[in-house]
C-alpha cells in the first residue's frame, strides 16, 4: 500500500506498512538520518520531529498518523539557508558534545518556544524530557533562555 507523506515541504510516495514507525520511514526510506534512534519506546526524545509544528516522538508513531500532516525534521528546520533561531544559539552556546541527542532536543525546544516564547525554568523542566548522556543540560537551559531573549528585550525596555 502506498502512503503519501509530506516531509520538509516535499511530498513522497512510500511503499511501506501503515504501522511502520515514522522514524524508520524517515531514516531508511527517505534517508533523513538527522532524526535519531535512541530507545524505540518514546522515552528519550532522540527521534523528535514536528507534526504540523508540534514536537512528536516518531519511534512509536505509526506512519499512518502522519498522513495528511506536515512533517518537519531537523534537516528542514533551517529556512532558505538560514539556521532556525534555536540552531543558531546552539552554535553560539556550543551546546552539543557527541551531538547524537541534539536533533531531538533542538526540535523539542523549537516546539516549546513556538508555544511558549519565553519559558521559565519550571516550564523548561516540565516540557523537555529528552535524555542527553553527555550531560549538556546546563548549556541547553542557558541556550533556551538565550534564544528567548531577543523576543523579550523589546518588551522589557
Amino acid at each position: 500500500m502506498a502512503i503519501t507523506l509530506t516531509v520538509n515541504g516535499t511530498e513522497h510516495l512510500l511503499d511501506v506498512e501503515p504501522d511502520m514507525p515514522l522514524l524508520w520511514a524517515l531514516r531508511e526510506t527517505l534517508g533523513l538520518t538527522g532524526t535519531k534512534f535512541g530507545c524505540g519506546i518514546a522515552a528519550c526524545g532522540a527521534c523528535t520531529v514536528h507534526l504540523d509544528g508540534r514536537p512528536v516522538r516518531t519511534c512509536t508513531l505509526p506512519i499512518s498518523a502522519a498522513v495528511g500532516k506536515r512533517v518537519t525534521t531537523i534537516e528542514g528546520l533551517a529556512q532558505h539557508g538560514t539556521l532556525h533561531a534555536v540552531q543558531q544559539v546552539w552554535v553560539d552556546a556550543q551546546v552539543p558534545q557527541c551531538g547524537y541527542c541534539q536533533s531531538g532536543i533542538i526540535m523539542a525546544v523549537a516546539g516549546l518556544l513556538a508555544q511558549t516564547p519565553n519559558p521559565t525554568d519550571d516550564e523548561i523542566d516540565a516540557s523537555l524530557t529528552n535524555i542527553c548522556r553527555c550531560g549538556t543540560f546546563a548549556r541547553v537551559r542557558k541556550a533556551i533562555h538565550q534564544a528567548a531573549a531577543p523576543r523579550t528585550e523589546g518588551a522589557a525596555s
Binding site: 511501506v16 506498512e17 511502520m20 514507525p21 524508520w24 531514516r27 531508511e28 526510506t29 534517508g31 533523513l32 538520518t33 538527522g34 532524526t35 535519531k36 534512534f37 535512541g38 530507545c39 524505540g40 519506546i41 522515552a43 528519550c44 532522540a46 525534521t73 531537523i74 534537516e75 528546520l77 533551517a78 539556521l83 540552531q87 546552539w90 552554535v91 556550543q94 551546546v95 552539543p96 558534545q97 557527541c98 551531538g99 547524537y100 541527542c101 541534539q102 536533533s103 533542538i106 523548561i124 523542566d125 516540565a126 523537555l128 524530557t129 529528552n130 535524555i131 542527553c132 548522556r133 553527555c134 550531560g135 549538556t136 543540560f137 546546563a138 548549556r139 541547553v140 537551559r141
Partner: protein
C-alpha cells in the same frame, strides 16, 4: 570534520605530486619517521604527514583520534596551530586513516609514567610507537589525546612546520631566518617590510628537511591556546548532517536485528525460523552460536520478524548468578575490617557498595559491513579503528590488510567503544559474511545495548580508620573487592598508616572500562570514608582534609578553590548542605563541592556543583569546561539512578524506562574553574567523574544527617531514622 577516505587519501597524494604539500612526520622523536612525504607516497600508503598547507593558505591537520563529543580534534589542531602561529580561521582537521602508520604510540608513553630522561626519549617513543603498532592501537581513551598526542606529536609537528616556513621565507627574502617571524599565517621580515603567506611558502618549505628538534613556544606566549575557540564539528551537529555509525548508508544494504542469549555466557539451543522467514522484507534468518539474527530490507521489519520467533537459549551455567550472590561473595572475601592501631581513641568503620553500570551512549551500537571476496569494509564508530580492523580480520580469517575500517562519529563512547570491546564488530562482519557480497547494517536495540554491555565493575569496600584523642587521624585503611589499582585507591592525605588491599571474588559478568575506569568506584569509597572520619573527629570536612594536604600543594589549592567557589562555611537554610570531595585521575586533580537540599519528606535536589580543576593548563577553555560539566552530570546520573542488576544470570534493566538517566529537571547548575599549575598536562574526559558521587553523598549527610553508603542514592531513604 571531514572523514578520511581512500579517495581523499589519493587526492592528498596528488597535491603532494604538485609539490604543495608540507609534510611533517608526526612521531618526531621516533627514528626513521622523519622523512618527508615523497611525491608518490599516496599510492604507497606511506603517508606520515600530519600537516598540509595548500596554496589557498588552508592548513589541514590530520588527527589520529576520533570525535566522540569531547572536541579532541579541535584541541589537537589548536596545539599544532599555536606552534605554527597559524591563522586559526584557515585550519581544517581530518581524522587519520586506520593505517598502522597512525597508531598513536603516545598513549603508552603517557600511561607508562611521565619521567623519561632526555637521552632515553627517542628510544622510549620509538618503543612505545612500536608497541602500539604491534597491538594495533589507535585509541581515543584514557583521557590521553591532548596530553600525549598533543604534547608529543601535534606541538612538535606544528613547531617543525613553522621552522620550515621561516627557513623558506628567509631564503626567498635573502635574509637570515632569525630576522623573520611567523604571525597569523604569514611570515614577516620586519626590517624590509616583506611578507609571504604560508600558502605562498608551502612549496619551497616542503622541499626542506624536517627539523629534528624544533623549538617549542614558551607557554606564556600562547595566544590561541586557553581561549574558547568554537568547535569545528558543531555546525554539523545542529542541522542533522553529522553522520554517526548508525547513519551510514551503503548502496544495496540490508538491515540486521539481533536477539542474544540473555544469560551471560549463554548459547542458542534451538529456534524455528519459519515464522520469520514468511514475513515481509525478510531475507534470511541466521542462527549463530550466541544469537539469532534476522536480515531484512528494513530494520523495523527485521525486528518485527525477530519478535515472531521464540528461540530457546542455554544459560551457560550462569543462571544462578545474581547481584545478591555477587555482593555476598564480595562480603565474604572482604572478611574482617583492617586492623587499627591499639593507640586509637576512636575507630571508625564503614562498608560501601557500588553497582554494575552500563555505558548507555545515546547512539545504540551498530556495525555496517560488506564482505566481498577477499576484502571487507566496516563502517562503525569506535574509539580505536586499528583494533577494530584486527577484530574484523580475525572474525573473518583475513589479514588486517584485507579490512578497511571507515570510522564514523560516535554518539557517545564513555569506554564502550574501546579496544577489546568490539563484540559488535566481530558479530557485524560475521553477519555480512553470511550475506556476502550484500552489505548489512546491524543495529542493536536499546534493549540489546543495555543488556549486552561490558559493565563498569560492581564493587564493595570495607574501611577502618583510627583517630587519636584530639581527632587527628592515625590510620585509614581498606579492603576492596571488584577491582582497583594504585591510582584509584590513592589518598593524598598525610595519615601515618594508609593501606588499601584487593580481595578477589570472581563472577561471570562481562566487565569493561567506564568513564574514569576504577576511579569511579574508589572516588566514592575513599572520599566518603574520609568524610565519615571528619565527622567522627568533630571537624569540618573541608578543614579536616585541608590540614592533611600540606605536602600536596596541588591538591590543597584545588580543594581551597572549590570550597571558595561554593561559599563553603557560609550559612545555608535548614535542609540544605554542602559536601566536598577531591580525586586525582589521569594526571588531573579535581575538587568538587555539591550543594543539595533534602526535604522533610526525603526529596533530594542537587542545586549546584562546583569544580576546581588542575589539569596543568587548558588547551581549549570552552571544550575543557564542557568536559567537566558533562563528566559531572554523567557521574551524578550514575550516582543518583544508575544501576545494572543481575538476576537469574541476566541483566534485568532493558531500556530508559527501567534504566533511568537524569534529565534537565534533575540537572544542577555546574560551575567550573581551572587552575594553571603548569604541571604536565592531565586528561579531561574523565577526571570530573570520580569525586562527584562522594561530594553528593557527603552533601546529603550535611543536609539530612543520612549517610549514603550504597549507590545509587535512590536505594537509601533520605529521611533520618529516629
Amino acid at each position: 570534520m571531514n572523514k578520511w577516505t581512500r579517495r581523499a587519501f589519493i587526492g592528498a597524494g596528488t597535491i603532494t605530486g604538485g609539490g604543495f604539500l608540507l609534510g611533517v612526520a608526526g612521531f618526531t622523536l621516533a627514528p626513521g619517521r622523519h622523512t618527508l612525504v615523497s611525491a608518490d607516497a599516496g599510492e604507497h600508503g606511506q603517508l606520515t604527514t600530519w600537516i598540509t598547507v595548500t596554496p589557498d593558505n588552508l592548513i589541514t591537520i590530520l588527527i589520529p583520534h576520533c570525535e566522540m563529543g569531547q572536541g579532541t580534534p579541535t584541541a589537537l589542531a589548536m596545539m599544532a596551530a599555536e606552534e605554527m602561529n597559524a591563522d586559526w580561521r584557515l585550519v581544517r582537521v581530518q581524522e587519520a586513516p586506520a593505517l598502522d602508520e597512525y597508531a598513536n604510540g603516545y598513549i603508552i608513553r603517557t600511561l607508562s609514567g611521565d619521567y623519561v630522561p632526555a637521552v632515553m626519549a627517542r628510544g622510549v617513543d620509538y618503543g612505545a610507537f612500536k608497541i602500539a603498532q604491534w597491538f594495533g592501537f589507535q585509541v581515543t581513551g584514557g583521557s590521553t589525546a591532548v596530553r600525549s598526542t598533543g604534547e608529543y606529536g601535534m606541538r612538535v609537528a606544528g613547531a617543525a612546520a613553522k621552522e620550515m616556513l621561516l627557513t623558506a621565507a628567509a631564503q626567498q627574502f635573502g635574509v637570515s631566518m632569525a630576522e623573520c617571524t611567523a604571525k597569523s599565517g604569514r611570515v614577516l621580515h620586519a626590517a624590509s617590510g616583506r611578507s609571504a603567506s604560508f600558502g605562498e611558502l608551502a612549496r619551497a618549505a616542503a622541499a626542506l628537511p624536517v627539523p629534528t628538534s624544533p623549538a617549542l613556544k614558551n607557554p606564556d606566549t600562547f595566544t590561541l591556546r586557553r581561549t574558547a575557540v568554537p568547535r569545528l564539528d558543531i555546525p554539523s551537529k545542529v542541522d542533522g548532517s553529522a553522520i554517526y555509525g548508525i547513519d551510514v548508508s551503503v548502496p544495496g544494504m540490508l538491515y540486521a536485528a539481533v536477539d542474544f542469549a540473555p544469560v551471560q555466557g549463554g548459547r542458542v539451543v534451538h529456534v524455528d525460523t519459519k515464522p520469520a522467514e514468511a514475513m515481509r522484507g525478510v531475507k534470511k534468518v541466521l542462527v549463530l552460536e550466541e544469537a539469532v539474527v534476522v536480515v531484512a530490507d528494513s530494520f523495523w521489519r527485521a525486528r518485527k520478524a525477530l519478535a515472531a520467533l521464540t528461540p530457546e537459549f542455554h544459560d551457560g551455567g550462569n543462571a544462578g548468578v545474581s547481584s545478591e550472590t555477587i555482593f555476598a561473595a564480595f562480603d565474604a572475601a572482604l572478611g574482617a575490617p583492617p586492623q587499627m592501631p591499639a593507640t586509637a581513641a576512636t575507630v571508625v568503620t564503614a562498608d560501601y557498595k557500588v553497582p554494575f553500570l552500563a555505558h548507555a551512549g545515546m547512539e545504540p551500537i551498530s556495525c555496517t559491513a560488506r564482505v566481498d571476496g577477499s576484502h571487507c569494509d566496516v563502517w562503525t564508530g569506535v574509539q580505536d579503528p586499528l583494533n577494530a580492523r584486527s577484530t574484523a580480520a580475525k572474525a573473518l580469517g583475513f589479514e588486517n590488510e584485507q579490512v578497511t575500517v571507515h570510522n564514523q562519529l560516535l554518539g557517545g563512547g564513555f569506554g564502550r567503544r574501546l579496544p577489546f570491546n568490539f563484540d559488535y564488530v566481530d558479530l557485524g562482519v560475521r553477519i555480512a559474511k553470511a550475506m556476502s557480497p550484500t552489505p548489512v547494517k546491524m543495529i542493536w536495540t536499546r534493549e540489546n545495548d543495555t543488556q549486552h554491555d561490558y559493565y563498569r565493575p560492581a564493587g564493595m569496600s570495607r574501611h577502618a580508620g583510627a583517630l587519636d584523642a584530639n581527632g587527628v587521624p592515625l590510620a585509614a585503611s581498606s579492603f576492596y573487592a571488584g577491582g582497583g589499582n594504585g591510582e584509584a585507591v590513592f589518598m593524598p592525605y598525610a595519615i601515618p598508616e594508609k593501606d588499601a588491599d584487593a580481595k578477589d571474588a570472581a563472577h561471570p559478568i562481562r566487565l569493561g572500562q567506564w568513564r574514569s575506569v576504577l576511579n569511579s568506584q574508589h572516588g566514592f569509597f575513599k572520599e566518603s570514608f574520609i568524610d565519615e572520619m571528619a565527622h567522627a573527629a568533630g571537624k569540618d570536612p573541608f578543614e579536616f582534609r585541608r590540614t592533611m594536604l600540606n605536602q600536596q600543594p596541588r591538591f590543597k589549592a584545588a580543594l581551597e578553590k572549590a570550597a571558595a567557589m561554593s561559599g563553603w562555611g557560609t550559612p545555608l537554610p535548614a535542609g540544605e548542605g554542602r559536601g566536598i570531595a577531591i580525586c586525582e585521575s589521569f594526571g588531573t586533580i579535581v575538587a568538587e563541592v555539591a550543594h543539595v537540599s533534602v526535604s522533610v519528606a526525603g526529596r533530594l535536589k542537587v542545586l549546584h556543583m562546583y569544580a576546581a580543576v588542575d589539569c596543568g593548563d587548558v588547551v581549549n577553555l570552552d571544550t575543557a569546561t564542557a568536559q567537566v560539566e558533562g563528566g559531572i552530570i554523567f557521574a551524578l546520573s550514575a550516582a543518583l539512578l544508575g544501576e545494572i542488576t543481575i538476576k537469574d544470570g541476566r541483566v534485568v534493566e532493558r531500556n530508559f524506562r527501567d534504566h533511568q538517566m537524569i534529565r534537565i529537571v534533575d540537572a544542577p547548575l555546574v560551575s567550573v574553574e581551572f587552575i594553571r599549575s603548569n604541571a604536565l598536562l592531565g586528561g579531561l574526559g574523565e577526571p570530573a567523574v570520580p569525586p562527584a558521587a562522594a561530594a553528593l553523598t557527603n552533601a546529603i549527610y550535611a543536609a539530612a544527617g543520612v549517610r549514603v553508603r550504597e549507590l545509587p542514592v535512590k536505594k537509601t531513604p533520605l529521611v533520618k531514622q529516629a
